[in-house]
């Protein structure tokens, strides 16, 4: 990469071992840089360490050695409170299984991150409505997750991820539970957000999804495969579908 935009994510020699009778060395010195405004996918087989990497990037898990800077903030040995605060303000999560709270309607789900910032109910519901309108879901605002289709649920989840204006969106297999048409729509949504300047990192094993991102980072057996980079027709077919 040659452009001079600011670095959003910077990992240097990150190692992670799960302790146990047989300690499991999952991440073996990960070096990774993601610049602001990038749309990146992380691809790898199950067991390759991509989920662990995502959890570390999402401040849901700790790492043992190395450094991780997120938008200029060193993320290391944080207290639970500080980690929660950073997750709340800097990261927007989108999960495969949507992870909406099933007894809350769309607006309430989208507004929930702001509840933990102490924003008043009236204000956060207004902001949530804005995000839902942006996702084209204004008419579904008062529906419960059970009353919506998978694509709608995922767009509600994206709206929830966007409401705090995070530094980065982390998506874990965002299309894994969707059909091809809906997957396509959701990926278009990500591309549109990326065009508006949002940094997005998608973890997937679906080459079709990877192909729609600007850069693919391949991870295998806890290390990043060096020549993975800008998407070319060649390296798309190397994927382990």
């Amino acid at each position: 990469m040659t452009d001079n935009t600011e670095v959003m994510i910077s990992l240097k020699d990150v190692n992670k071992t799960y302790p146990g009778a047989v300690p499991l060395h999952v991440l073996k010195g990960i070096d990774l840089e993601v610049r602001k405004g990038e749309l990146v996918s992380i691809m790898g087989a199950s067991g390759s360490g991509k989920s662990t990497l995502l959890n570390i990037l999402g401040i849901l898990d700790n790492y043992d050695t190395g450094t991780y800077y997120l938008d200029g903030v060193l993320v290391k040995d944080l207290t639970e409170n500080r980690a929660a605060e950073l997750r709340n303000r800097m990261i927007g999560f989108v999960f495969q299984s949507f992870n909406l709270i099933n007894y809350k309607n769309a607006v309430e789900n989208v507004a929930l991150p702001l509840f933990y910032q102490g924003v008043s109910r009236r204000k956060r519901n207004a902001l949530a409505m804005e995000q839902l309108e942006r996702m084209g879901l204004a008419d579904r605002a008062h529906h419960l997750p059970g009353e919506m289709s998978g694509g709608q649920k995922q767009r509600v989840a994206i709206a929830r991820a966007l409401i705090t204006h995070p530094s980065i969106i982390l998506a874990d297999e965002p299309t894994g539970a969707l059909d091809s048409k809906t997957s396509h729509d959701v990926m278009n949504t990500f591309r549109e957000l990326n065009d508006e300047g949002m940094t997005i990192l998608i973890v997937t094993h679906d080459p079709g999804v990877g192909a729609q991102t600007n850069r693919i980072i391949r991870i295998s057996d806890g290390v990043i495969i060096p020549d993975s980079g800008i998407v070319t027709p060649d390296n798309i077919c190397q994927c382990d579908a």
Partner: protein, 406 residues
Amino acid sequence: MLDLFREIFQSLSNNRTRTALTGLAVAWGIFMLIVLLGMSRGVSNSFNSHVTVDNARSMNVYNGFTSKPYKGYREGRMISVEDNDTRKIQQENRSHVEEVTASKQLDSSMVSTPKGYVNDDVWGKFPSELGKARLKMIQGRFLSQKDLDELRRVIVISEPNSEILFGKSNDAVGQRVKIMGLSWLVVGVYRHDWEKSSYIPYTTAMLLSGNNDKVSDLSVKIDHVSSLEDGQAVEKAVRGTLARSHDFDPEDDSAIHIWNRFTNYLQQKTAMDIMDMAVWLIGIFTLLSGIVGVSNIMFVSVRERRHEIGIRRAIGAKPKSVLLQIVAESGVITTLFGYIGVVLGMIVTGVIDMLSKGVEFLDNPTVDLSIAIKVTIVLIVAGAFAGLFPAIKATKVKPVEALRDE
């Protein structure tokens, strides 16, 4: 704060059946506590309204028969207390005996007017009887020292007897009644739950009984006693005095009968205190089983909502806010349903109160505001406590693991 309650309300109404069942256990516990407390309060109110420590500091001495031979006398001899025993008891037990009075029942109990007659006891008494018997004067006055000094033929009668003798609406005071063929002036009318005897001056009653020194019973007012042992010691001393003057064995309990109101009072009071404590214990333990229920349900709830807690943690909920939500949820369930129990308990004790009017052993079997406040504090603390351990468990939920299990 309002937001927190909205969150709690949402998650509680999301699990209506579970919330209701949990609530029922707490409501039942509190309901039992209130009803039990109300009933025990009723019994002790009734005890307190009849006996106070002041009028309990006394002993009554009645005639009896000896059961042991003594100084050449055979057993089975009748011992009658006499007028001069009052002075002897007082002189020999100055440290603990404040006053000794005697009473004398007239042989005839017939009190009549041209309008009617009554046949309740007629007693020669001292002015202090007014307080001892807890009589309430509704017309005129009670006997005075002057009545006794001047051997007046005056009488104090009960309210129902006044109605029989003079009619319902007529003032009895100033009118006259006949006893033993003599005319008596009514000086007062009293009201009492069950007492209907007529009272005349003790001295007048003694005069009418001729030269006989025998009295019906003695009433010994005691003082400077505080423990059961004190009360028993005074009783023994009084018995000793009478044993010397009437020549009976001081160990012979049936020669004279002593009703020691003071030791009785202490024993009853101890019984009341034990009952009160037992009721609190039963109530608290009933409540405790409700609380354990709440705690249990909250554990289940935390377990069931692991995934939801994981989502909340991932999007920025701090451990503190998860803790607060679970504790507050438990507190809200306990307090809300606890109050339903309190209100139901109050209603039931209120109904019992209405139905038990005139029942002797129950007096106002309801709980007062201070108990309601105590119960409220107990509820909030208990509810928070019930939620604490499940809440701590909830904060230990790792978002990564919780998000993984569906």
